[in-house]
Symmetry: C2
Subunit: 336 residues, 2 copies
DNA sequence: ATGAAAGCGCTAACAA
DNA sequence: TTGTTAGCGCTTTCAT
C-alpha cells in the first residue's frame, strides 16, 4: 500500500540551504520571497522531483479544493454533457472533481457519509437522491450543496433548474393546437420533481384547450422502460395520436418503437415531443421536436453558485430558474 | 474558505472519557478494542456528529484511496459507459474517483502535475495524451497507471485493450467478401494507437482479398468531422461502396450523411461498419453492423490490474488484450 | 485493551 | 524577507 517515501519540502529545504517554510512559500503564489531564494528552491525542487503534497496542504487549510459531483446514471446524454462542462469549469477554478455515480437503488445515506468524510468543499447534485435529512447533514457539516434540476424540501440549499413547468405546458398546448386529441405523457421517475413539474405543465397546457391526457405512463428515464410503456399504450384501443416524453432519451425510444415495432408514421399518425435537446435529437433520422434545456447555462449557474457559496458561506445560497426553448423539428406536424 | 471547526476524534475522546487513540481504533476495522469502549465511543461520536477526517488519515497512511480517471471527452457513449462501470468497481473496492476531462488541446503536462500532486493511488487513462516522459514521471512518483485502449512506448505501465487489429481485419475482409470493391476508412485521431491498429487490420483484411482502401479520411472520433469527411468522400467521382468507421459514433455520422444528405441507400448502395457496439448502434433506425468491444470486461480488467498494482507494486504491471466480436446488423449486406 | 507520545507534510503566526 | 515554532486530525508504535 505504501509507496516509496516521497520528496518533502524538508528535503528541498536541506538541499537548497533554506528553511522549510521558505520552500512552502515558494509554492504559494501570494507569499513574499526574494527572487534569489526562489530560484535556489525551484532548482532544488526540480532536481529532487519535488511536488507539494496537497493532502497535507488540505489538512491545514481545511479545504481540499475538491467538489463532489453526484449523479445516478450516465446513459442519458444530458449527464455526460453536464459532467464535461462542469469538469471544465471546476478545473478552471482550480477545483478537482470527485465523481459519484449512485444508482437509485444504492445505499444513499452510506454514500453521503463517504462524500462528507472525503472533505469535499462542495457538492453538486444531479441526482434525485438527496432527502431532506441528508441535506440537513450537509448544512450541519458546513458543506455547500447545489442541486441541479432537483429539489428538496429544505432551505439553505441552492437550486438551479430549468423551467420544467413551462416546457411541459408548451408541449401540451402545442400538441393540442396542432389538432391532436389523444395525447399521452411518458413520465420520468415518479419521485423526480423535474418529471412532476413537466407533467403538471403538460396537464395544464392540455387543459387550456379543454383536453385531459389520454394516458400517463412511467418510463423512469429509461430507454427500455419507455419502449415497453409505448407498446403498452397501443396494446388496446387506438392508442394516442401524440406522445410527450419527459426526456429525449425516452422520446427516441418512443420513436423507435412507434416506427419499427408499431409501424406508425411519425408525425403523420403519431406526433412526438421530447425534452432536453441533447445532440441525438438533432440527428436527421430522428429530427425530434423537443424542449431545449440550456445545459451549459445551467451548469454555469450551478458551478458559480457553488463556488460563490464556498467562498462566502451559506448566506450565498440562492436559486435560479432558467428558461427553456421549444425546438421545432419533424416529429410534430406544422400547426395548421 | 474555512468552515466551522469540525468535530475531531479528540472531542469524541473527551466526551466518551477515553483516549483519542481509542476513538481512532474504533474506526479502523482491524484494531482491537473492547465492546464496552466501542459503545461509549460510538455513542459520543453520534451525539457529536463525528466523522473521521479522511484527509488526515490519508496524510499518515500515505494513501488517499482515490483513483484518477482521465479522459478527453464524453461525447462518444463508449466513455460514459466506461466511467459508469469504473465508478461502480472502484466504489465497491473503497476507492474514490477523481475525474479529469482533458481536451486534447489542453496543457496536458500541467494536468499531469495536478494529478500527481493530488496524491491519487493510481491512474486509469482513457485518454491518448500520456507521453512517455509523463509516463516516466508517474512511475518515478510510484503511481500505478493503467492505460485503456491506449499505448505508450514505455514499460512498467499496464495496458488493457481490445483486439483492434483483428476488428479492423474482420471489417475489411467482411466487406471485401460481401462483394464491395471501393472501401473507405474513416479513421479516428491520427495519433491514436487504437485507430492505427484498426486501420492496419483493415488494410490487411482488404489485402487478403487483393484490395487496397478506396480512401482513408480522418474523422478524429468527432461527429461533425466524420460528417464532413463523408461528404468529401463523395464530392468527386462515385464515392466508395462501403465505409468502415473507427467508432460507432462516427459511423452514425456517416450513416446520417449518407442517407439524408447524399441520398444513398444503406446497405444497398453503400455499406457501413462501425466499431464499439455502443447502445445507439442497436437502435432500429441504425441497426449498425459493428465490431463489439467488451467494454465491461475491459473496465473490469483495467480496474483489477490497477488495484492489484496499488496493492503489490510495479511488478504487478501487466497487459491484457481482449477479443472483439463482429455484430451483424443491417448496414451491411448478407454475404452472397 | 488502553493511553501517551511521536509524527505524516504542510501552512501560518510570530520573531528576528 | 526569512527562520522558528506550533499545530491541522489522524494512525501507529510503545509502554502499561
Amino acid at each position: 500500500m505504501k509507496r516509496k517515501p516521497a520528496v518533502t519540502s524538508r528535503d528541498v529545504a536541506l538541499r537548497a540551504g533554506v528553511s522549510q517554510s521558505a520552500v512552502s512559500r515558494c509554492f504559494s503564489p501570494e507569499a513574499s520571497i526574494s527572487e534569489k531564494t526562489r530560484l535556489k528552491v525551484l532548482n532544488a525542487a526540480r532536481e529532487l522531483g519535488y511536488r507539494p503534497n496537497s493532502i497535507a496542504r488540505s489538512l491545514i487549510t481545511r479545504s481540499s479544493r475538491t467538489i463532489a459531483l453526484v449523479l445516478s446514471s450516465l446513459d442519458n446524454m444530458f449527464y455526460p454533457l453536464a459532467v464535461e462542462k462542469a469538469s471544465q469549469r471546476f478545473q478552471a477554478e482550480g477545483y478537482h472533481l470527485l465523481l459519484f455515480v449512485v444508482p437509485e437503488s444504492d445505499d444513499f445515506p452510506g454514500i453521503m457519509d463517504s462524500i462528507l468524510q472525503s472533505q469535499v468543499d462542495g457538492i453538486l447534485m444531479l441526482s434525485a437522491l438527496l432527502t431532506s435529512s441528508l441535506a440537513r447533514e450537509c448544512v450541519d457539516a458546513g458543506v455547500p450543496v447545489v442541486l441541479l434540476n432537483r429539489s428538496v424540501e429544505f432551505e439553505g440549499i441552492s437550486q438551479v433548474y430549468s423551467d420544467n413547468y413551462h416546457g411541459g405546458y408548451w408541449a401540451g398546448s402545442y400538441l393540442a393546437m396542432s389538432g391532436h386529441r389523444d395525447i399521452a405523457f411518458v413520465a420520468g421517475v415518479e419521485t423526480s420533481s423535474t418529471s412532476r413539474r413537466r407533467h403538471e405543465g403538460f396537464v395544464d397546457g392540455l387543459a387550456a384547450h379543454g383536453l385531459v391526457p389520454y394516458a400517463v405512463v412511467h418510463g423512469n428515464y429509461d430507454f427500455d422502460k419507455a419502449r415497453h410503456e409505448t407498446l403498452a399504450l397501443f396494446a388496446r384501443g387506438q392508442g394516442p395520436d401524440a406522445i410527450f416524453a419527459a426526456s429525449d432519451h425516452m422520446a427516441v425510444a418512443v420513436l423507435e418503437t412507434l416506427r419499427h415495432e408499431l409501424r406508425r408514421r411519425v408525425p403523420e399518425e403519431v406526433a412526438v415531443i421530447g425534452f432536453d435537446d441533447t445532440p441525438v435529437s438533432a440527428w436527421p433520422s430522428y429530427a425530434l421536436t423537443t424542449v431545449r434545456q440550456p445545459i451549459d447555462e445551467m451548469i454555469e449557474a450551478a458551478t458559480s453558485l457553488l463556488i460563490e457559496q464556498i467562498r462566502h458561506g451559506a448566506e450565498a445560497a440562492d436559486s435560479q430558474v432558467l428558461p427553456v426553448t421549444p425546438v421545432l423539428r419533424h416529429t410534430t406536424r406544422r400547426m395548421e
